[in-house]
Amino acid sequence: MKGMNDSMDELLEILRDIQPDVDYEHCETLIDDGYIDSFALISLITSINRVFDAEITAEHIVPENFNSARAIMDLIQRLAAE
């Protein structure tokens, strides 16, 4: 299994590819403040599912799980542990 830091770097890379101009290390309102809109969210989830071999389903798609890189990482790890 990949180390935490490697995974976080991969996630940040995905996020920057979709929307480069955000301070992902600190931003905690990615959804609430519209940095990631519903279209970016589709790209993001598709990429995460592919890169992390995860299966994010509609139940997981709520702002709390996507408002920060940290929250997204937690979601990915929760899904991996299931």
Binding site: P20, D21, I31, D32, G34, I36, D37, S38, F39, L41, I42, I45, T57, A58, E59, I61, V62, P63, F66
Partner: protein, 511 residues
């Protein structure tokens, strides 16, 4: 109340007045928590109209408010005052709002207390009226009756701004007659009645909102305004639709796609939906199939139409159990009292299936033209090309289509650089101009229809992130390209024009 002797409606406010008399205590517009009944809506609109009458008649009044029931009251208040409204929203971005306000020079700007705090961002120096004060003003019945008696159905009701090809926003101005004709036909197609509960997705500053707004007033129905953030939480969105018992939605196709592609329909079911109308852009068949499989008993209606013909001009109904279209969903047939001419490059009408022509729209829904722009009005609002016997202005859409074997129209392509993205009509030239405004030497924006992705190429030494940052201040979110690419030179065609096809290929390869 003034009505024409034959009972024909001549003012949009008659819809409101009839419903306020018949269903005074029914909730007309709500966000699920707060809202206005028909009676409260009429009272607020009449009060605002009385106070705004000093600016009239027939002058533009801008309304800058959040998408809530109060904004509907403000828009209708402008109509009561004998003026026409220009709906605005902060999500249009400050530079765009500035351009629009400069182009319109409104007689007054109506805003709520929250918007007033931010007005300094717009450099607007004209009169400002606070909605909270207008609403509290006394309604002057005699004054309003006098204004109505002098109003004609050919008088303007609103101006909505679309993206213009020279980069400047383009205002489409429509009359009461245009909107009345549209709503009469549309409400019949939607089979709207007092039991209809709309779930409104589209912003109030585009013509798409007319569907819910005026059909609700005409039929004594209800519009539930869906909080925008719910479109990032499909399961909560569906829960909201169920809580509010929404049974009818008229969304841009991409909003339906969001719900289905995020797996929303696997996790929850909109239980009350009976009718789903969609349009503004292609609805991918694969997504349509997901909806159809999840909600087989719903009636689906594909709508097509340009802002310049008020809203929607054609519709195609897919009844429950009807076979799925094989390739794309047709745009179908014109509404009653609307005509579509399909004309080939030689200027001759196209009759046989499969052959492509350009669509021209004729009928009472053809709007008055572009606001303060005779040259562009003259280019698009033209004499019916099939005869010169008497004056007949039709709208040249720039959209190409053909007939299928059943005689239904099928959309083929745009004739120019105008695209549909996330339900908004966008001129790529406007994005290119914004890039030049941000310091790029030149810019070329390409759109990939398959992936629905815009890529902006800039001749610039600046790095991509800072270009993007500046563009973001300049453009509304829906106009922001998915990727910004700095380059040293553009590929050119043999005619010396930027080779868009080559850039499009480069954009696709970069993915």
């Amino acid at each position: 109340m003034v009505t024409m002797s034959d009972g024909m409606r001549k003012n949009l406010l008659e819809y409101l007045e009839n419903s306020a008399a018949r269903y005074p205590d029914r909730l007309a517009f709500t966000n699920g928590e707060t809202g206005l009944t028909f009676q409260a809506l009429a009272a607020a609109a009449r009060a605002a109209g009385s106070a705004l009458s000093e600016y009239g008649p027939r002058r533009p009044v801008a309304v800058l408010m959040p998408k809530q029931a109060d904004m509907v009251a403000a828009l209708l208040g402008v109509l009561y005052s004998g003026n026409y409204y220009v709906p605005l929203d902060w999500e249009m971005s400050a530079p765009r709002l500035q351009k629009i306000l400069a182009a319109v020079e409104p007689a007054a700007l109506v805003c709520d207390a929250g918007s007033e705090k931010r007005l300094s961002e717009l450099g607007y120096a004209g009169p400002v009226r606070l909605y909270e004060e207008l609403r509290a003003a006394p309604a002057e019945d005699a004054l309003l009756a006098r204004i109505r008696a002098q109003a004609l159905d050919i008088d303007p009701a609103y101006v909505v701004f679309t993206s213009g090809s020279t980069g400047a926003p383009k205002g489409v101005i429509a009359s009461h007659r245009n909107a009345l004709d549209y709503i009469e036909q549309l409400s019949a197609v939607l089979e709207a009645d007092p039991r209809t509960v709309f779930g409104s997705q589209t912003p109030f500053y585009v013509d798409a909102c007319l569907k819910e707004l005026y059909t609700t007033l005409k039929c004594g129905a209800q519009t539930v305004i869906i909080p925008k953030t719910l479109f990032t939480s499909p399961v909560r969105l569906i829960a909201f639709l169920n809580e509010q018992r929404v049974n009818t939605i008229c969304w841009v196709s991409s909003a339906l796609t969001i719900v289905s592609s995020l797996g929303g329909l696997k996790a929850a079911t909109p239980e009350y939906l009976r009718l789903i109308a969609f349009g503004s852009e292609t609805f991918p068949l694969r997504q349509f199939e997901i909806w159809r499989a999840a909600l087989p008993d719903v009636k689906y209606i594909h709508l097509y139409g340009p802002t310049e013909a008020t809203g929607m001009s054609c519709y195609y109904v897919i009844e429950p159990g009807a076979p799925l279209p094989r390739e794309k969903i047709p745009i179908g047939f014109p509404f009653a009292n609307t005509g579509v001419l399909l004309i080939d490059e030689a200027g001759q009408p196209v009759a046989e299936p499969g052959r492509v022509g350009e669509m021209y729209i004729r009928g009472a829904g053809v709007t008055m033209g572009y606001f303060r722009d005779s040259p562009r009005t003259g280019e698009a609002f033209v004499q019916n090309p099939l005869h010169g016997d008497y004056p007949e202005i039709v709208y040249r859409t720039g959209d190409r289509a053909c007939y299928d074997e059943e005689g239904a129209l099928v959309f083929a392509a745009r004739a120019d650089q105008q695209i549909k993205h996330m339900g908004y009509r966008i001129e790529l030239a406007e994005i290119e101009e914004a890039a030049r405004d941000c310091g790029a030497v030149d810019a070329c924006c390409v759109f990939d229809e398959r992936t629905s992705r815009m890529t902006l190429f800039c001749l610039s030494e600046e790095d991509e992130a800072s270009l993007r940052r500046r563009l973001k201040n300049q453009l509304p979110a829906y106009m922001l390209p998915a990727a910004v690419i700095s380059c040293a030179a553009f590929p050119l065609t043999i005619n010396g024009k930027i080779d868009r096809a080559a850039l499009k290929k480069r954009a696709a390869e970069r993915r």
